[in-house]
Amino acid sequence: MMKIEAMIRPQKLEAVLEAVHELQLTGMTVTEVRGMGRQRGITYTYRGSQYTTPLSHKVKIELVVNDEMVEDAVRAIQEAAGTGEVGDGKIFLVPVADAIRIRNGERGEPAIS
């Protein structure tokens, strides 16, 4: 089992949700985050003083999938979230030891399908 963690542009979330849906993956968790990367940060003006933060708004998505689904999912996310411009984000693959469905205690692959 593998957790796919991707930081994407907020406005791409919709497209990613659709792409994931098409792969018949039914589970996913979304978090609002701010990210630092190659992308230029934001300069805020406050009554004459200016302050630059390297952080821009991103969305983090997390999906735990079976090992055989990893490559498909990565490709789908990459296609849906990409614009080709700096700031598109990253996908990380994090190994997962086990999964449990809270509702009924199912474990392992059945828990995430």
Partner: protein
């Protein structure tokens, strides 16, 4: 008949030096208080509009959208004092536009005690508040994608080439529409129709938001702010409509009640249709419907009795709900539904004023109905048509000219990241 048709126009006479007969035993101080109170209520409507609109856009554009209203308070106040008031209410022999006799505050005396009738300054001020909010209303159509500098230039020019002339036609005692004889108590045509139609032109010239094209969600950032803004609009609108009687009298009281009833009924009208169509009565629907009802009653507040106002409100509230669906069919991106609410509501309100105007509400209606109700309705339609066509064409021209001179639309990058960050260097919220 002229002196009774247009409540507002009476102001010019009322505040004029000879309005009060000597020996009059009703000093107008209380009326001045009423108009001043009304002016301060209308003043608050533009911040209220900032809230109403601000809550409906995405978080990344909330300040930009609110600034569209606030900057109108800054810019139009000065434009109006300097030139706009004169173009609207200066001597207008032609019937089309005022002269330069009242530019820069000239001829608008405040120094004599108002009680002796020597001051029209309060009228200039009361009218200023209307001049401010009208272009701010348009901003809802171009939210989330217009350059700030272009917007400022646009509203300043629009105020001079659209608002002032139209106000002259309709409210100046020399105005051609004033003489034509339609009823517009508090600005259904001048304010709502003119801005609603300008909004359509602006939405067309600006084009669709990228998020809409890419079918990204555009969630309203804070509907509690929109609701509170709607509440404050209701509050301020009492001044807008009942203050347009320019005195505290039966017409003002009727206008107050009818305005209130139409807001209430507008809310109900919208919610009923919404519930039928979607199964839910929404908070945004309540806010939108009450604004629709207020728009609808604006031209008729001083002519329509309370029960008629309930009908006007119900019909306008329901109609606005249906009218906002047009944009999806016709394909323009009117971000916050200015066309559907102020355009459609202003149009319907003008017609319904002809339908529901009643002598019980205002004795002056007798004269207006001299030629029969149908004739009045036709007059209403003519006024709406003239103002609508003029506002649409000039707005179109103005925006195309500004576009040619360097672009009026934010860059794709700015639009995606949001105008707050990229144009104003700010974020609305840092709540966590």
């Amino acid at each position: 008949m002229k002196q009774v048709r247009w409540a507002l126009a009476g102001a010019l006479l009322f505040f004029g030096p000879m309005a009060r007969a000597q020996g009059s035993d009703t000093p107008p101080t209380a009326d001045l208080v009423w108009v001043a109170l009304s002016a301060v209520l209308v003043l608050l409507m533009t911040p209220a509009l900032a809230m109403f609109y601000g809550g409906m856009v995405r978080r990344i554009n909330v300040l930009s959208t609110m600034m569209h209203s606030f900057i109108a308070m800054g810019v139009i106040s000065i434009v109006w004092l300097a030139l706009g008031y004169s173009l609207a209410f200066g001597a207008a022999g032609s019937g089309w536009i005022g002269d330069f006799s009242r530019t820069m505050g000239n001829g608008i005396s405040t120094s004599e005690p108002a009680a002796s009738g020597g001051s029209s300054a309060l009228f200039m001020l009361f009218q200023m508040m209307f001049a401010i909010i009208t272009p701010a209303l348009i901003s809802g159509a171009i939210a989330e994608r217009m350059k700030f500098g272009s917007y400022v230039a646009f509203i300043a020019l629009w105020s001079l080439v659209v608002y002032s002339p139209v106000a002259c036609w309709v409210w100046n005692a020399d105005g051609w529409l004033f003489k034509h004889g339609a009823l517009d108590f508090a600005g259904g045509t001048v304010v709502h129709l003119a801005s609603g139609v300008a909004a359509l032109a602006a939405a067309i010239v600006l084009g669709k938001r990228r998020a809409l094209i890419h079918r990204e969600p555009i969630p309203p950032n804070n509907l509690t702010m929109t609701l509170v803004g709607a509440g404050l609009l209701w509050f301020g609108w009492i001044g807008f409509n009942a203050g347009s009687a320019l005195a505290m009298n039966g017409v003002a009281i009727n206008a107050f009640i009818s305005t209130h009833m139409a807001a209430a009924a507008g809310m109900i009208g919208w919610l009923i249709v919404e519930r039928i169509k979607t199964g839910k009565a929404t908070a945004l629907g309540a806010a939108s419907g009450l604004v629709g009802g207020l728009v609808g009653i604006t031209p008729g507040a001083g002519f329509v009795a309370p029960v008629g106002a309930v009908a006007v409100g119900l019909l306008t509230g329901a109609a606005c709900y249906l009218a906002i669906g047009l944009k999806n069919k016709l394909g323009y991106d009117d971000s916050l539904d200015v066309v559907g609410v102020h355009g459609a509501g202003g149009l319907l309100g003008a017609v319904l004023t002809g339908v529901f105007a009643s002598e019980a509400a205002n004795p002056a209606v007798k004269d207006a109905l001299a030629g029969g109700r149908m004739e009045l309705v036709v007059k209403q339609v003519v006024a709406v048509g003239a103002v609508g066509v003029y506002s649409f064409l000039i707005t179109m021209g103005l925006l195309l000219a500004l576009k040619a001179m360097g672009g009026i639309r934010a860059s794709a990058e700015q639009e995606d990241a949001g105008l707050d960050e990229t144009m104003h260097g700010e974020a609305g919220y840092n709540l966590y």
